[in-house]
Amino acid sequence: MSPRLALQQITKRYPSVVANDAVDLVVQPGQIHAVLGENGAGKSTLMKIIYGVVRPDAGSIFWNGAQAHIASPQVARELGIGMVFQHFSLFDTLTVAENIALGLPAGTRMDELARRIADTARQYGLDLEPERHVHTLSVGERQRVEIVRALLGRPQLLILDEPTSVLTPQAVQRLFETLRQLAGEGCSILYISHKLDEIRSLCQACTVMRAGKVTGVCDPRHETASSLSRLMTGAEPPALVHRDAQPGKPLLSVRDLTLERSHPYATALSGISFDVRQGEILGLAGVSGNGQQELLSVLSGEDNRAQAQAILLDGQPIGRKSVAWRRARGMGLVPEERLGRGAVPELTLAQNMLLSHQGGATVRHGMVRRRAIASLAHGIIERFGVRAAGPHATAASLSGGNLQKYIIGREVTRTPRVLLVAQPTWGVDVSAAARIRTELLALRSAGCAVLVISEELDELFEISDRLIVMAKGRVSPPISRTAATRDQVGRWMSGLWPENGGVGAC
């Protein structure tokens, strides 16, 4: 039997980078095939080529044994290729059925479509109501809409791009059951990920990519996490030394914080209380969109609608203080979006220093001390191993990981007393991520109170001293890392935690 899909010597060049360099890939019918690689390894470009979004410069594609020219996603769908993108393309104000109808020919009957959606959803254990409006759905439910949309085309190959980054551990298990059922019916699945454990438990074959090239094809069930990681990065994952914390007094306290939402699609905060103590890292787990953004802007001062008494910095009420006021008193923030928020893309690294360094060292008599900001930026490039042309390189010219190292470096060199960090290693390669985690631990040991907001449980278990979980705008009681289990935190991510302390609370 010929393979479902075979790519031969696929090459795609962009002006400054070769995204795919002579890539071969073979997917058998009914196979769950992983494509593993770090961010920027070329996985997404390859999938876009298969789905007809991007045209390759060279190479050929064989579909069920015959050569195919996939000129557009339309052609791909007609062949029987479905794709679920990492970022959903759904309209909040429309219902599930209306969203799905948008991709179908005009004149599709809505009542019949709703029935087909419900049937398909039931068949694969995907709980979904066609009449619900998308803005009322959780992230996991939105993903189901995308999957059902792809399944309605009866695909022979389903591509999923990083599908689990937005799911709780329990939701991941349910997704895996659906995928196994699909594969059992003969549908091939291409599963894009950088999470080694998931690939080892789900996939039967794995193609590993690094810097646009295929570095190995293997059966992940017979590999270890470290051997896969070696193929992916070319090096062993660096081990992190985690010393026990000696936490001091609370530096940042949140007391019964309740806040109306500022726009219809925001999450309201309700009754949030926690402490971040001197010399500890407090991890905030949770599926994104459960109020993390809102909480962060209230803590940083970008949103100062909170009651003054609801947020205390060193015992002083600061709920209504501005960003500048809080920063001047030792608060620091590493935001989730690096370009455009943590750094201005068009400005140089030296100029970007001024976003958070605004004291006498960088500004005198209202004028910018240009030599001082350049030497500060130079120091950060050296100390944190930022790969950049120099302090006068623009922020936009850096890769995501290097820019994150720069931003973390910029905030760390201010020696903050309280540091808020959102998604510290999101989209960052393994070695840069290790570097960033090491710096956060060093900062903690130096007595800083660190709050880390992350979707990646592995990361939180690696660096946190205590954990809290956020769900539906509320925050769980704290639990010490050593007492917590992934299963328990996963359940708490759905909002199911014991109300009064409970097991393992501290």
């Binding site: 400054s16 970008e302 960003v323 935001p335 001024l354 958070s356 605004q358 209202g366 004028m367």
Partner: protein, 353 residues
């Protein structure tokens, strides 16, 4: 077939060359235009672009036109860099002129004037322009009203206000009912800085404004905050830079400079208040600001080109019998050509057979 391909990084060369290319393209379009209406294109273009620069008299007239354009464009550069789209500089110019003119008409007794009183009148112009701009700023700040629409509509309000005043309280009682004010006495007219020409100190004020504008944007922390607010509003919020402060600063600076330009015009070449004190300087300065790359030094060059276009337009009316719309046509072509050439900063042309 010629194709556009994205460049890996924006070309620094093209960023400089693009305004020059745009001027050349404008000339080319002018060539075709003159040809089409049956004029000798070479002679017509030389009337348009070379004649204005003949002799000291020609250069000084270009300087007279350049002064208001440059002053307004420096202010607009600050504004646009802060992403505050004040396109009502024309109105702020007019209200600045009204304020300065009204003050002069109030205190002028044919014997006074001089440096201090003239400075006071210029200051009145600045304050008038600021006051007009602050209407837009306040509506934007308080009600989130779109500053593009508000400032534009206030231009027409300002022009009607001027017309109302020179038809009424500010009208010259001995003027046979013409809608214009008394002529200001010599003590309130800006002196010529070159004997025998109309070039007045306004050009020095404009060049000074350009220098200060450059210092502000390139060196000061306040200028940095303003630009971050324009380039990346989220980063400005993150850094704790107030967007309200940027809005007010940008509107007041550009309104003040436009008002100063208005005051200089009526105390310089015009010498009185009339219903038509501006040949569209406030709108032309928008083009000047963009052709000058929103850079306070760049606008020195672009205001020069625009001033040549104004004079060339006047000359081609008198010598070639072209309609008065010719100036506006050339201004429009210039802006259009610049926008087209700017495509080449991020893209390159490739020949693909």
């Amino acid at each position: 077939m010629l194709r556009l391909e994205p460049r890996a990084r924006p070309s620094a060369w093209m960023a400089w060359l693009s305004p020059l290319l745009a001027v050349l393209l404008t000339m080319l379009c002018g060539f075709v235009l003159f040809l089409a209406v049956g004029k000798d294109p070479v002679a017509s273009l030389s009337v348009f672009f070379l004649e204005p620069l003949r002799g000291l008299q020609g250069w000084s007239e270009v300087g007279v036109k350049m002064a208001p354009l440059l002053m307004i464009a420096v202010g607009l550069s600050l504004c646009f860099r802060a992403n505050v789209f004040n396109i009502g500089a024309e109105g702020q110019f007019v209200v600045g002129a009204i304020a300065a003119g009204a003050l002069i008409l109030r205190i002028d007794n044919d014997a006074n004037g001089g440096f201090w009183l003239m400075s006071l009148a210029l200051l009145a112009g600045v304050l008038g322009g600021m006051a007009w701009a602050s209407v837009t700023a306040w509506l934007r700040d308080r009600f989130n009203a779109n500053e593009i629409l508000v400032s534009l509509m206030l231009v027409y309000v300002a022009e009607l206000l001027l017309s109302y005043l020179v038809h009424g309280v500010l009208m010259d009682p001995d003027g046979f009912g013409f809608p214009q004010s008394r002529l200001f006495s010599d003590g309130f007219l800006l002196p010529a800085i070159l004997p025998g020409t109309r070039l007045h100190p306004g050009i020095l004020l404009a060049l000074g404004a350009a220098m200060l504008g450059w210092l502000f944007l390139a060196r000061s922390f306040a200028g940095f905050r303003l630009q971050v607010g324009g380039m990346a509003p989220l980063a400005a919020r993150y850094a704790g830079f107030s967007s309200r402060r940027s809005l007010w600063l940008a509107m007041l600076a550009s309104g003040g400079l436009a008002g100063l330009a208005g005051a200089c015009e009526i105390m310089g070449p015009i010498g009185q208040l009339t219903p038509s004190i501006s040949p569209g300087y406030g709108f032309a300065a928008i083009i000047v600001a963009f052709v000058g790359r929103l850079h306070p030094i760049g606008v020195i060059f672009s205001s020069f080109i625009m001033a040549v276009l104004y004079i060339g337009g006047e000359l081609s009316q008198s010598r070639l019998g072209m309609p008065s719309a010719i100036t506006g046509i050339f201004q429009g072509i210039l802006l259009f050509a610049l926008l087209a050439c700017d495509v080449l900063i991020h893209n390159r042309l490739r020949w693909r057979p």
